[in-house]
Amino acid sequence: MTVRKAQAQVQAQAPSSPRRRAFRPRGGDWGVRLGAIAILLLVWEFLAPGWNPLIIRPPSAIARAFVELVENGELQTALVISLRAFSAGLAIAVVIGVLLGIVTGRWRFAYNALDPLVSALYSVPSVALIPLIGFIFKFQGDAPRVAAVALFCVFPVLINTQQGVRNVDRGLLEVAHAFNTSERRLWTDVIIPSSLPFMLAGIRLSIGRGLIGMIVAEFFIGLVGLGYLIIQYGNVFRIDRMFVPVIVVAALGIVFMGLVQWLEGRVAPWLRREQ
């Protein structure tokens, strides 16, 4: 029994190892990662004092600035504002992107109707639309920043979902018809699960874009949040404090990526073979 299981696993892994095998996670991986970061920080720390403090400050100064910004509460306030706009924008983008992706992936009419618009909007650098969004939402409250994040996030989700829906295995579609599937069961049994990995990949791509959208919108529209902290301390040459929100944004990216990966393991456990 256990031998048979082991055999089954060996066979299952076989297809994933043609020539260039992806790195498999190993125990020592994290040691190397943390070590590389530590060395970078050490070199930075020792070289920084030789430079103009208006341009570069050592990590220890940034750490001190971090503590200051936490103690006076500026960082938390900014983080809450940014996070609120980012999560709302991402959520809206996922809902719209998945829905439009499904509709345009499945029905030729919808595809032809929306594709020119999607292609055009996707080709325009989203940054160029930020002032327009500001005007549309009258620069009031969270709305323009939420909209900016949603604009930055929606295309990867939409286009990936569309690809996923279009790439459903024809063999499986035939199986579903052979077993007399209903239209509803066709979606729940075949189309949705088979495009799920594409949707999740789209969401992962959109996180990086969404953070850009969030910061840029804060630069130009809101003058609040982490983006405004960066501008504010950049203007007064407090490079140490300016770096704090930058690092927090990087951390946000890592956290959200991890969240999506965790979600993937929960909703699509059959994909584990690829990791």
Partner: protein, 262 residues
């Protein structure tokens, strides 16, 4: 009923200008296994799909249990060369797929699924995803999914065609064992369903078939129908050891070669 489960009458199918088959006639009796033998691309897979209504005929008709086929039905089940398992469903849920869609009561579904998982030797693998199963085990899932419908007709589309030689032989033996009277519940009579088995392996068609239909080159017509007079219960080994085996194989071989040389 005359005992004929499937009747193909003057069936005609074209793909664009290319004729796949024209005026094809064939009958499959209840409980009988008919192997359809022919080289790749001769239209045998298309023929099987028209029997299930997945592909529509351009002329003639196909009757299953006296009714013309227009689309997939519950009393016909299919096993695919590519297995056709849902990667996101565990083995058990894949087996249950067909009976669930058939809308049977939950209790019947559970009973059927248990029964056919046991029959094809999948016990202990119910919670495995397809990727955790070998090719042979995956096709056992495909077979159980079809059998669980307890269909009148079982359509097999080169089901062992993508397996290695050894696994293929093991599954041929399994299929012969399962097909012995009494293993498959049907109308309380225990007769196995009529089976149409597509293959391009001569040995496989002799081992499994009661009759072998040798198709000609495209446009396909029935070149000859051979009766496999090797008694059941059979195993692959017992068939190969049988004196009729070599004669039948030579006959099939000659029929296939004749056409190729022409």
């Amino acid at each position: 009923m005359s005992g004929e489960r499937i009747v193909v009458e003057a069936a005609k199918k074209h793909y664009g200008a290319i004729p796949v088959f024209e005026a094809l006639d064939l009958a499959v009796r209840d409980g009988e296994t008919v192997c359809i033998l022919g080289p790749s691309g001769c239209g045998k897979t298309t023929l099987l799909r028209t029997m299930h209504g997945l592909v529509q005929l351009d002329g003639g008709r196909i009757l299953v249990d006296g009714t013309a086929v227009t689309g997939p039905r519950r009393n016909v089940a299919m096993v695919f060369q590519h297995f056709g398992l849902m990667p996101w469903k565990r083995a058990r849920d894949n087996v249950a797929y067909g009976v669930e869609l058939a809308g049977l009561p939950q209790r019947t579904i559970a009973e059927r699924v248990d029964r056919y998982i046991a029959l094809v030797g999948l016990r202990g693998f119910e919670r495995h995803y397809p990727y955790q199963l070998s090719g042979g085990m995956q096709q056992r899932v495909g077979l159980a999914r079809a059998l669980a419908l307890e269909p009148n007709v079982l359509l097999m589309d080169e089901p062992f065609g993508s397996l290695d030689a050894l696994t293929r032989e093991v599954l041929q033996d399994e299929l012969l064992r399962i097909y012995q009277r009494g293993h498959i519940e049907r109308d309380g009579r225990g007769t196995p369903p009529a089976m149409v088995f597509i293959t391009h392996s001569i040995e496989e068609s002799i081992a499994l078939g009661d009759r072998i239909v040798v198709l000609s080159e495209r446009p396909a017509h029935v070149r000859e129908i051979l009766s496999v007079d090797i008694p059941r219960p059979r195993t692959v080994a017992s068939v190969i050891a049988h004196p009729r085996f070599v004669e039948l194989r030579d006959r099939c071989w000659r029929l296939l070669r004749e056409r190729a040389a022409a």
